[in-house]
């Protein structure tokens, strides 16, 4: 499985006590150099440097065709006030994930909204940390035997990162876990 990292995801994820498990979930992770330029704190740099040095995280080779798609996509969506501002690095992540057929790891509401309505990006899979934790359970990277244990993992993430998941999303996730536990 291939993943693409955006800045919002990685700056929170690197604070999570189980952050190293991301490497078990994905065979390879990609990041754009402009996303990398957003990372400044010691915690984030330390984590990302390790991933890069171990070859788990790679810099994405950006091309002119992708630059043309960036200009097109920006023109199509950027002025809609209901989409939280999508900066260039966010849009680059969308294009990278689509071209790599990868899972985009993003906590950016604007990114999620683009994949809800834009015809070329509608099928793109975008995970927040919640779906990432959930998928670690399905792959037996994190072990839980009850819904409460899943909620404990989510709580730990929220405590470590100052990040809250919307109740509706958490309920959907919990339903999927419940069904998986019954398998």
């Amino acid at each position: 499985m291939i993943g693409v990292l955006d800045a919002c995801f990685i700056i929170d994820w690197c604070k999570y006590r189980h952050r190293e498990l991301l490497e078990q979930l994905f065979a390879t992770l990609f990041i754009h150099e402009e996303t990398l330029a957003q990372l400044k704190s010691e915690t984030t740099i330390t984590y990302v440097s390790r991933l890069l040095s171990e070859g788990k995280l790679r810099l994405y080779p950006w091309s002119q065709i992708e630059e043309d798609e960036y200009l097109r996509l920006r023109g199509e969506i950027i002025h809609d006030p209901r989409i939280p501002s999508l900066e260039r690095p966010d849009i680059l992540c969308l294009i990278m994930a689509k071209n790599l057929n990868a899972i985009l790891l993003s906590e950016n509401t604007g990114i999620h909204r683009v994949t809800e309505f834009h015809p070329r990006y509608r099928g793109l899979i975008v995970w927040t940390a919640l779906e990432t934790i959930e998928n670690m359970i399905y792959k037996n990277i994190l072990n839980v035997s009850s819904e409460d244990e899943f909620l404990k993992l989510v709580k730990e993430y929220e405590e470590d990162t100052g990040h809250i998941f919307k109740r509706s999303r958490l309920e959907k996730s919990l339903r999927r876990i419940k069904s998986w536990l019954k398998r």
């Binding site: 919002c8 400044k40 704190s41 809250i164 919307k166």
Partner: protein, 82 residues
């Protein structure tokens, strides 16, 4: 000229409800004393973040990268909500 692609009315209505709920939580959880103590641009950036949840816009106002702004967000106890 690139043609704009617009979301449906149903999606917009759902997004507006989600945004309002997230804004309410950020306002409730924020450490307003900490925010009041900050220099004007940082204070403004934190308030913009509370109202919009838009970390890029807030970090630009603060003159910081989003990673640097995120550290201040944590000190101000403003949750990131997705």
């Amino acid at each position: 000229m690139v043609e704009k692609i617009k979301p449906s009315r149903e999606l917009i209505e759902r997004w507006e409800k989600e945004d309002e709920e997230a804004r309410r939580i950020r306002r409730e959880k924020a450490d307003w004393r900490f925010i009041e103590e900050q220099e004007p641009l940082i204070k403004l950036a934190l308030i913009v973040y509370i109202e919009t949840g838009d970390i890029y816009r807030a970090s630009r106002i603060a003159g910081l990268t989003i990673d640097e702004f995120n550290e201040i967000r944590l000190k101000a106890k403003i949750p990131h909500i997705t």
